[in-house]
């Protein structure tokens, strides 16, 4: 027994874990700095909580290493159903700040079930795309994968949690691309969204229309289809300001609030300015551990999770930030590499899906701290404090380690 176990460990591409170890180390260092100002005692500090959560997280990672590879494939659909059930469960509980994101099971903490559901959705998608030798050159082949993803996404969107539902939708494009779908079709999938959004700005809309036209001409469909696609999109775009205006102000506000929950301009602008000031004043080497004046202003309400990069930027400087970003980039690149080298299609697609989840979190979180995109509450992998996503990150790493190992089973 023990011999097999050791062999299994040897198969694992250990160097991936060095990147994880580095990121977790940085996380603990910076959480310790934040925790120094807590007066309630060690047990309540984010540092201590993070340490505690690492125990189940590492345990789950090990579980996946010792799991037979085929079982991930075998149970992918069951896990997907389980994922849907757990994102529905919070709706039967009490609201938490008017949302249904958290599942309480008599525990002192809540579980954000959508974090797990997005991994399960990705696995189900990978299985569907690998089990069926689809003619990916046909547009109709992308319909079922979209439905698979849309189902849990719509539930999560109603929790409401726009950030997580975006991450949940994100893997579908790279996975379809990886499975051989024509990039042109993938482009057509997202084209209507751009048509709608640019329609509110004449210049953007003109540029978009030109771009859309060029792409359609390059893809060389039949004339009728080309005309239909082009004018369909333009019509869609032109219709949307009209549709918008028929909504009452109250309904418009609800949509705006949904897209940007912290609509209060004072609130958002204030957080972003605080974050940028903290980061900018850090400079090359930072102000030193525990010395961040801006960070400890506590004006950023979630500095230990959503805005943790601002703390790193201020106290440890650009050098550390660059190292963190390059390290997570290296980590994700390795996953993509394994996806390319993988012998079977299921592993390849699952790995690409997981890589996409990681990159979405990294990009949305980081871009938010520097004011590139509106504030969305998504954590940074391995660094942000917060149980559900930390455990999910380790769970995904466990899957990566398993699927990218050698092929002894």
């Amino acid at each position: 027994m023990s011999l097999i176990n050791i062999n299994r460990l040897r198969e694992v591409p250990i160097k991936l874990l060095w990147a994880v170890a580095f990121l977790v180390f940085i996380s603990l260092v910076i959480l310790k700095s934040i925790s120094n100002h807590y007066s309630d005692g060690l047990v309540y500090t984010p540092f201590f909580k993070q340490l505690i959560i690492l125990i189940p997280a590492i345990f789950i990672l090990l579980c996946f290493i010792f799991l037979p590879r085929y079982s991930i494939h075998k149970y992918a659909y069951i896990l997907f159903l389980f994922g849907i059930i757990i994102v529905l469960l919070p709706f039967f509980g009490d609201t938490h700040a008017k949302t249904y994101r958290w599942l309480y099971m008599g525990l002192p903490f809540g579980i954000q079930t959508s974090e797990f559901a997005k991994v399960f959705t990705t696995l189900a998608l990978a299985r569907y795309l690998s089990d069926h030798t689809l003619k990916m050159k046909k547009f109709s082949s992308v319909i079922i994968p979209i439905i698979i993803t849309l189902f849990p996404t719509l539930i999560v969107m109603n929790q409401p949690d726009l950030g997580t539902s975006i991450v949940m939708m994100a893997p579908i494009l790279p996975m379809l691309y990886w499975a051989g779908a024509r990039p042109f079709y993938l482009f057509l999938m997202i084209a209507p969204i751009f048509s709608m959004l640019t329609a509110f700005h004449t210049l953007s809309f003109s540029i978009w229309a030109l771009f859309l036209g060029s792409i359609i001409i390059l893809a060389r469909p039949t004339l009728i289809i080309a005309v239909f696609l082009f004018f369909g999109n333009i019509f869609f775009g032109l219709l949307s300001p009209f549709a918008w205006n028929t909504l009452s102000e109250y309904q418009q506000n609800r949509i705006l609030t949904f897209l940007n929950p912290e609509k209060d301009p004072l609130g958002v602008a204030y957080q972003i300015i605080q974050s940028k000031t903290a980061i900018g004043s850090g400079g090359l080497f930072g102000k030193g551990w525990g010395q961040g004046t801006q960070t400890h202003l506590k004006f950023l309400p979630v500095q230990e999770s959503d805005f943790i990069l601002s703390v790193i930027g201020e106290e440890l400087g650009f050098v550390t930030i660059a190292m963190v970003l390059l390290m997570i980039g290296y980590f994700i690149m390795q996953i993509i590499k394994f996806a390319f080298l993988s012998k079977d299609r299921f592993s390849s697609l699952a790995l690409i899906g997981i890589a996409t989840i990681f990159i979405s979190h990294v990009f949305i979180n980081t871009a938010m701290t520097v004011g590139l995109i509106p504030v969305k509450g998504l954590p940074f992998p391995f660094i942000s404090a917060g149980g559900s996503f930390l455990i999910t990150s380790f769970l995904m790493t466990g899957i990566v380690l398993k699927l990218s190992g050698n092929y002894s089973d």
Binding site: Y70, F299, G317, F318, M333, S342, S347
Partner: protein, 585 residues
């Protein structure tokens, strides 16, 4: 299982990798831009200008009497805050503050812990500082880094009246209260919220809206000005409310009842407006503004007379004879009943094996309905119970608003008890009570319990022949009509005539309430309610027509004897006052 081969091409691989690094480098570049290229700008901003968000309390709206005289006002006081993150040598500073404001060191620490919400959020240390104390703090500002003071509007009561049960009080919002609120974001720790009386009922109009200021603070924690990007938002004061209270009448009521226990309500029957209402004993209205010591507080809380209880809304009393007009309606609604038929009162009446007495033990002699009302004879009503049954009488009680809250705009009304046969069966069992209960019931005794506010509403209904509005304390709101009573005009006229005789008849029990003014005509009814807990409660209800105006009144004095002897003279005293000052109403 995993038979499908990987078909990813090199092109797909390189494209995906390039996309990944493109995104990573956008992020790295953006950090480079902020941290290296714009370092000077942000460094300066961070070191010399920190931004602090300070909320400013909005003064609550004023509460005015019907003539615009101020009942509840605001006075500016000072509160002392600390920014925990800027405090060094905390104990030393707290000790200094405790010495300046003359409290124990622990009190300051306790406050600090109570209000703490974050290292850079202003945390309250003390309130109600005088100008002199603030001056002392200001003189030592250099030693008190991290300590700030702020103006804070506090409730003040400039008028001569207490009216404590009407006005109510405000309470400081603490963590528990805030967590229980629906509109959490409208309140911060240390704000005040209306907790009883009108302060509570009209919280939304009185409250106002926080102001917000963003201060730039230099490295020493000194405020150097506003932040240009964020203009300050001024606090919006709450809206004033105009009550129906007449300051003069309210003042007079409080003086008249002085050291007795009981309730007086005076109002205008047509509109349901309340000109004055007292529940005695009461308390000083500034009891809750924070200066009270714990022992004083306990004394009030544990006082046997329960001064905190709002008797006009929550007190439950047997009404006694003041509700005989309801029995009168029940009789007159029966067409077989003839009001001029006479029944003899011997002072006692045997029903089954029990003897029921009249309050006038010598006996009133031959009585008809009118004289039974004006002399408040009990035997007459015992002898006429065959004209209605238990539930019929209950339905008339309910018609006159008993057994349910009146809907007055002060919360916490009791329902009272109107017994029905169901109620009696439940309480005593089917065979545990007899028809004799109806004898108690018809003269307002027994299980029946009423609140003075219900009695006020009942009095208004009698005075307006069923066309009054719900009792209320605040003007300018849409008046709510009470349900119309389906009682014929003949019956109303009969009741009005009988109630006039209570006052004008030679032997009328309410004679003592007559102000003896040629222009004033008074209608009324006395009541002497037996209660199991001691002396009888004295009641007087009625209304006065003075020129074309009318004024209704309810007087209740706990455990003080007969209505005619005790309550009626107080009503007269108040009618006199109204006559003397009526031009102001």
């Amino acid at each position: 299982m995993l038979k499908a081969e990987n078909i990813a091409s090199q092109r797909q691989y390189y494209f995906t990798i390039s996309l990944l690094w493109l995104l990573i480098f956008i992020l790295v570049f953006r950090y480079f831009q902020l941290q290296i290229l714009n370092f000077d700008k942000y460094s300066k901003k961070a070191n010399t200008n920190r931004i602090r968000k300070v909320t400013l309390s909005a003064p609550r709206g004023l509460i005015l009497d019907r003539n615009g005289k101020i009942l509840v006002d605001n006075i500016p006081t000072y509160i002392l805050n600390a920014i925990p993150g800027e405090l060094s040598k905390r104990d030393e500073k707290f000790q200094f503050i405790a010495d300046v404001i003359n409290v124990d060191h622990d009190v300051v620490i306790k406050n600090f812990q109570k209000y703490y919400r974050g290292r850079f959020i202003p945390t309250r240390l003390a309130k109600d500082l005088s100008f002199e104390q603030i001056s002392k703090i200001e003189e030592n500002k250099l030693n008190l880094e991290g300590i700030y003071y702020q103006q804070f509007p506090e409730r003040a009561f400039p008028s001569s009246v207490n009216a404590s049960h009407i006005l109510g009080y405000v309470k400081e919002v603490d963590r528990d209260i805030r967590n229980a609120l629906q509109r959490k974001n409208d309140y911060e720790l240390g704000d005040v919220i209306g907790w009883s009386g009108l302060e509570r009922s009209y919280e939304n109009s009185l409250k106002g809206m926080h102001g917000i200021q963003f201060f730039q603070v230099d490295a020493l924690g000194r405020e150097v000005g506003y932040v240009d990007e964020f203009p300050p938002r001024d606090p919006e004061p709450g809206g004033d409310i105009i009550t129906t209270i007449d300051l003069g009448i309210q003042n007079h009521l409080e003086n008249v009842i002085a050291d007795k226990r009981g309730v007086i309500i005076v109002g205008i029957p047509e509109t349901g407006e309340i000109l004055g209402a007292v529940s005695m004993p009461d308390f000083e209205p500034d009891l809750f503004t924070g200066r009270i010591t714990e022992s004083d507080w306990n004394q009030i809380l544990n006082h046997p007379d329960k001064p905190l209880v709002n008797r006009f809304n929550q007190g439950l009393y047997p009404p006694g004879s003041i509700v005989k007009m309801i029995t009168e309606v029940a009789l007159l609604e029966n067409l077989n009943f003839n009001p001029s038929d006479e029944f003899k009162c011997d002072g006692a009446f045997q029903f089954g094996d029990r003897i029921f007495g009249c309050w006038y033990t010598k006996g009133h002699g031959n009585m008809n309905l009118a004289s039974a009302i004006s002399l408040s004879c009990d035997i007459y009503f015992y002898k006429t119970i065959k004209y209605y049954d238990f539930d019929k009488l209950s339905s008339f009680y309910k018609m006159f608003g008993f057994g349910k809250p009146t809907g007055v705009d002060i919360q916490g009304e009791s329902h009272g008890v109107v017994p029905t046969t169901d109620y009696m069966n439940k309480r005593y069992g089917r065979s545990g009570w007899s028809r004799g209960s109806l004898l108690n019931y018809c003269i307002g005794q027994g299980e029946l319990l009423v609140t003075p506010m219900q009695v006020f509403n009942y009095t208004n209904l009698l005075a307006t022949k069923g066309h009054t509005q719900k009792p209320h304390f605040v003007k300018n709101k849409a008046l709510v009509k009470t349900d119309t009573l389906e009682i014929s005009n003949d019956i109303w006229d009969k009741i009005t005539n009988d109630m006039e005789k209570v006052i004008s008849d030679e032997k009328g029990t309410g004679k003592g309430a007559d102000p003896l003014n040629v222009n004033a005509k008074v209608f009324g009814k006395t009541g002497t309610a037996e209660n199991p807990h001691g002396e009888d409660h004295a009641w007087f209800i009625g209304w006065m027509k003075y020129y074309e105006k009318s004024f209704s009144i309810v007087v209740l004095l706990e455990n003080s004897g007969s209505g005619g002897a005790v309550a009626a003279p107080i009503a007269k005293n108040i009618f006199d006052k109204i006559i003397n000052s009526t031009k102001n109403i």
